[in-house]
Symmetry: C2
């Protein structure tokens, strides 16, 4: 039986090289934190050698390097393709040191040569202006994980190995990070990981005991409880505890070998059809070693090693404190740099011998620079899924259902490079057609009566926005494509992930060696306006506000008004790289406006005048512009225009629909921003604009700031008024109903024909009747479902 | 030994009344979902009796009512004060039914009488316009938990019982919710719960097996693994499985009695000094029963009961489908309504006998209407902690350190009604003075060398924004006071909680029976501008954008520029009710501007002209206004004004500082908005304003929209440009440095004195020198720490 094979012990030579590599990494870590000169300690350390500002996180770095050194040995032994994710990413210097030792750093940043000069530069650039950040981040070769905001290391790891059968993701989980909710929610990734077709995640729970200023929950728990917890999640627990050397090397090497062996056995069984059903007991390693291991033990009479005092800079005030300077030098020399770096400052053969070859180096794996591996999706023709629309606003359809059929074909044509992630709402969001091609991924028990559920499924549903978002990040950062579809309001649950992933993409643009990765596509559906039935908690278009704050290079927001526009937007988004594409559209049956060709043109322009909806003949400026962005408010706007056309035909009304919200920005502020000429063509330069917006009005206010006479934009939108009610009542409560828009138009038009007063009274009457009806009847009201637009 | 007492079994009478109560609740749940007439089934059901739109969630409701009925019995037996939290809050009708049966509903909503007419109204109002939402929510008597966004039931429960020694929070965790990350991260609450002084949380994990459209992870796991998981978290697991009646009644009553007994034993031991150290094994009940239990088993040949098909409305199209109508009637009659409601539609004595008395009814507990129990905080005099400031901008201090000393006194004066919640950053945020009065709460092992850590501590640190935010919500909703202090960037982690809690407070304002609760105070510190050392991931003032979208009744944003203003703001916030108060200020040493009295006046006004900083003598309009909101940008603005005063004294410059951001809004939009006269006094009505803002510029753009000539506001702020660098470089990268502001002033002033060209060249030179220095030196640069302002 494979499982009983005894892992090969560390040979004397291997021990020497693993230990040397670890010492070298630790030396380089300290150098980055402390030194601006005398990198190789060719002379006694002087105050001037020390940086004026000491930054960095020693406490976690040594554990990260320890694990790294041993995984490198495993790779050399096995040829295992591996990506390394440092959950305690504050240990950036450890990862930077690894890349420099492996030569990758110099490949990415040629100025940082792998010699004494380069080491000098490596030290000076760390955490310095013009240099590099203190975390493992986008600037770190081999990283697909920014370690600043804690909690996401496991979700990134699981996303990375989905459909990557040969990849192992070693994910170091810090015990501070282990307290976060996203991390605790991420252990369940194995319930969605199919060993026959996906790679493996090996979590290393690094219990060094402390976070910034206190102990951690898991480190202080009885180890039996920690075991019970991880076993409850379904893992096989391997434990390595201590600080003795070389004992820890031998024990950790053994645990790692056993873990890898178990992974291979699980995969072998699954890939040869010998695996039982259910979730295999994937290994997890629990490593208990002192925080700041091998660092200064006691400083100024206080215990530092093995406590929270080792978190950042264990020796402070080194420039001014001769004793601390002496301790620093002794500490650095304790790693015996003479054995580690040759006369030119290059890593010696002893150290180098631990490095895997070429792309097997974890700092060089192309999986961590996923754009290198990205293949364009094979996309189905949009036309195959387009709706026939003969006259605008006369038919209804569930737009997202069309998208579901389109995505079904994307799945079919790209069976291993595309996934849809969704918190259990694929059917609810009308995207269920994908199940005709792929089941839901499910490694837990399947029982009779289950629908579209199997280990071979690739649609990923888990009731956790954090997992969905994070898995998609991991999936795209390793070069594959996908969509995260979620209820609009609950997109705020993972808003911080959207922000942080945006920062990653923003920074990646400045790194020529980073190949662009597929965009993160977020479909916000089941929107505020049509969560009338679910109530106020489900009504929140807040993610738009957040996306607006991201850099223009990354941020995209699309509000297609109907199915054909949605298909065009989807087709576009799936072709892009390095963007966060928010696409906002509801799932309920909705009016359809544009035939396929018109939709393609409209989406290409991003915003346009809808002649058929207005009474503006184009020969002169209109009296008022009715603009809209978003499906429901577009319906209300078109209906308002129809009311005006019918009841006050002399008023010149122009209707403008905006699909690509960034068109509103100035070209200097966003690449999609329309120039002044186009802006004037749409909105004139002085006529008042009644703008009905899907989200919070402030979004449009900030977008049009700086445009000519921005004060003339009167924005209606979601003003945080909601409850369980009818769709139409939602628009009344938020003052964006057709009647409100007509009143706004009359209040702001540059010229009012005779009859405006009557129309105003009629609209007010309609609104009063509606409100009275709501109060009196306490029951469901008919939505204005059959509003058909009298078009020419 | 208390623990060995055998819980008393359900007597025949108790069984009858618990079961009758449960049947009554189920009947009322179905009625709310389906009926608009014929509530008591006095005649055969007709299509016209059925609502036109069927909304609600049957699947989870029956389990919620089952647990509720049994907890009521426990309360009657023991007099235990209990608050009930429904994690699967979509089961709103179950909770509404409970309140109606207990009479509380009629007390809160007198129109909904406890008789046939009231039942009719109860049914019609549910999920109807003008009625009530479909979730357990703020409108539900007895609720402190909105069930729309899943994941927070345990954090709310733990927050509710902190410092509430006599309170039990029964928290039903749905198995869908159990997949969310916030919920998974919340089990650890017991590591922070002291049985000697806090109440208890009894989680009931309701594994009915399914979420909207598929099975759940925990329900499909081997029960041994679920046990292992919960035991790993530290709980004692009690399991109840089945659907047989009355067997389930007996077994669940037994489990509940045992759980309660264990809780009492744990508390007794702790309160009599007999408890061992460490986290006691609090009980958790795992209830496995079919989804939609007692509902239609098979409909149209498909299994419904016990599957995801029972999630919402198990019988659809009832108005049109005579067979479904027949099934509905049979289903409702299966509860034998004749036994449950008397001729007038009132609950019979059989049902009523299950209700606890008065405030012990869970729907009536004052803990769930915490404003009733709120006592004002005893606040220390601000003057005791104020800084002496002789001349503006000449001294530096860590403002939050002063706040820490103030909060220390708040702790001292309010030992059981105030708490600070923080993700392990209390010291880092310079609030550590609180530890002079209270340790950190810690029930896990304490070892020699631990600092400020004990079971008796009341400062709550856990590395989880979700827990901190949620615990504070639970703490304030039950009437106590607190502050959540966090790194500004990571406030986005819990942004969705901020949004949802805001919705709760917004709705509560419209319910006269809800007493206002203490505000949720969020201190955002370690801000973007001074996370220069931690880098880009730590630089994000995004929560301001989110807070701006909340209703004006709730949303408050304060940006005190210095310590004395911060103290005044804190004093104000801790006196308020029903607000979300964001307070934004960094923790690093920063310039101090205002003496105590001036700070009090400035904060009272919320915005004011700083005469001492500008050259505007007030006799005529200035040439340009330099406005600012936020500490670092205020320093840059004051410095820019000093440069102008020194180098271009003829330019009339007015400096305006804004503390209360909502002052910028129009009075019609926000109660804090200044009127037009005051706005003009601050900003004139036509002079250009260079506005240096702490957050994203779009925030100010949307706030000033609609003010006179809003286009003249040129807003500088955080434009998502960051890295690990110096504080000053952060301002340069984001174009809000003193030199950038001087250039902006010169570019926008209405009049330029001679010498402006030279000054422009000088500023550009300063910026070029800075950038060259960054590129060349790759090392730390001196912050402009010693900028002292030449004031008159």
């Amino acid at each position: 039986m494979v499982l009983e094979t005894i892992p090969e012990p560390l040979s004397t030579e291997e021990l020497a090289t693993v230990d040397a590599w670890w010492r070298a990494a630790n030396y380089l870590t300290i150098g980055q934190i402390y030194l601006q000169d005398n990198a190789l300690l060719r002379r006694p350390l002087e105050p001037a050698d020390v940086k004026p500002r000491l930054l960095g996180h020693w406490g976690t770095s040594t554990g990260l390097s320890f694990v790294y050194a041993h995984v490198s040995r495993l790779i050399r032994r096995t040829g295992q393709e591996t990506v390394y994710l440092a959950g305690p990413g504050h240990g950036g210097p450890a990862l930077v040191a690894a890349g420099w030792l492996e030569g990758t750093y110099t490949e990415s940043f040629p100025a940082v040569t792998r010699d004494g000069d380069g080491m000098h530069r490596l030290f000076r650039q760390f955490s310095s202006p013009g240099g590099i950040p203190s975390h493992a981040s986008v600037t770190t070769p081999g990283s697909i994980h920014e370690g600043g905001e804690l909690g996401y290391v496991l979700v990134h790891a699981f996303g990375a190995v989905m459909d990557n059968p040969d990849l192992l993701a070693v994910a170091v989980v810090g015990d501070g990070e282990a307290e976060t909710s996203p991390l605790e929610g991420a252990w369940k990734g194995i319930s969605f990981l199919n060993p026959a077709r996906d790679g493996a995640v090996l979590p290393v729970l690094d219990l060094n005991g402390y976070k910034i200023s206190g102990p951690t929950v898991l480190a202080r728990k009885d180890p039996a409880l920690v075991r019970s917890l991880l076993e409850g999640h379904g893992y096989h627990v391997l434990e390595v505890t201590g600080e003795d050397l070389p004992g820890m090397h031998h024990r950790f090497a053994g645990a790692l070998a056993e873990a890898h062996h178990r992974i291979r056995a699980i995969q072998h069984a699954a890939r040869t059809g010998q695996a039982p059903d259910g979730v295999p007991a994937w290994p997890v390693v629990v490593l208990r070693s002192p925080k700041g291991w091998t660092g200064p033990s006691v400083v100024d009479g206080e215990q530092v090693e093995g406590t929270w005092r080792a978190h950042q800079v264990p020796l402070s005030g080194v420039k001014e404190n001769p004793e601390h300077l002496r301790l620093l030098e002794a500490w650095m020399r304790s790693y015996r740099p003479g054995e580690l770096f040759d006369a030119d400052g290059r890593p010696t053969e002893l150290v180098h011998a631990n490095d895997p070859a070429g792309d097997l180096r974890m700092s060089a794996t192309p999986h961590a620079n996923g754009g290198l591996l990205t293949r364009d999706l094979v996309l189905p023709p949009v036309a195959d899924h387009a709706l026939q629309v003969d006259r605008p606003g006369t038919t209804r359809a569930e737009s997202t259902r069309r998208l579901g059929e389109y995505l079904r074909e994307v799945y079919r044509a790209n069976p291993t490079t595309f996934r849809l992630f969704c918190p259990d709402e694929t059917n609810s969001n009308r995207l269920g057609a994908v199940f005709e091609v792929s089941d839901r991924t499910w490694m837990e028990r399947v029982v009779p009566g289950d629908v579209s559920l199997s280990a071979s499924g690739r649609v990923v549903e888990v009731l956790s926005e954090h997992n969905c978002h994070g898995w998609l990040e991991g999936y795209t950062l390793t070069g594959r494509h996908g969509v995260f579809a979620t209820y609009e309001a609950f997109a705020m649950v993972s808003a911080s992930q959207t922000v942080q992933h945006g920062k990653w993409l923003e920074e990646a643009e400045h790194l020529p060696w980073r190949a662009p990765v597929p965009s993160l596509n977020v479909l916000l559906t089941s929107t505020a306006w049509r969560n009338d039935h679910n109530g106020f908690s489900h009504q929140g278009p807040g993610l738009i506000q957040t996306a607006l704050t991201q850099r223009a290079a990354v941020s995209r927001i699309y509000l297609p008004p109907d199915a054909n526009c949605l298909l065009e937007v989807a087709d576009h988004c799936l072709r892009t790289r390095s963007r966060i594409n928010l696409v906002v559209i509801d799932k309920q049956p909705q009016l359809q406006y544009l035939a396929p060709a018109a939709a393609a043109e409209h989406v290409r322009r991003g915003a346009g005048v809808w002649d058929w909806a207005g009474t503006d003949d184009g020969t002169q400026d209109p009296d008022v512009v009715l603009a809209c962005a978003g499906d429901v408010v577009t319906m209300e706007t078109v209906a308002a225009a129809a009311v005006l056309r019918e009841r006050l035909p002399q008023l010149r009304v122009r209707v403008v629909n905006v699909v690509d919200l960034m068109r509103l920005r100035r070209p200097a502020d966003h690449p999609h921003g329309v120039d002044e000429f186009t802006f004037r063509e749409l909105f004139t330069d002085h006529v008042d604009v009644v703008f009905a917006f899907h989200g919070f009005p402030g979004a449009v206010h900030q977008l049009v700031h700086g445009r000519p006479h921005a004060d003339r934009f009167h924005v209606r939108g979601f003003i945080e008024e909601g409850t369980t009610t009818t769709p139409f009542d939602m628009t009344v409560r938020n003052r964006v109903s057709r009647y409100d828009l007509v009143l706004d138009a009359l209040n702001n038009a540059s010229r009012l024909p005779v009859g405006a007063g009557d129309l105003r009274a009629w609209c007010q009457g309609q609104l009063e009747r509606h409100r009275a009806y709501v109060v009196e009847h306490l029951e469901d009201m008919p939505e204005v479902r059959d509003w058909t637009l009298p078009v020419g």
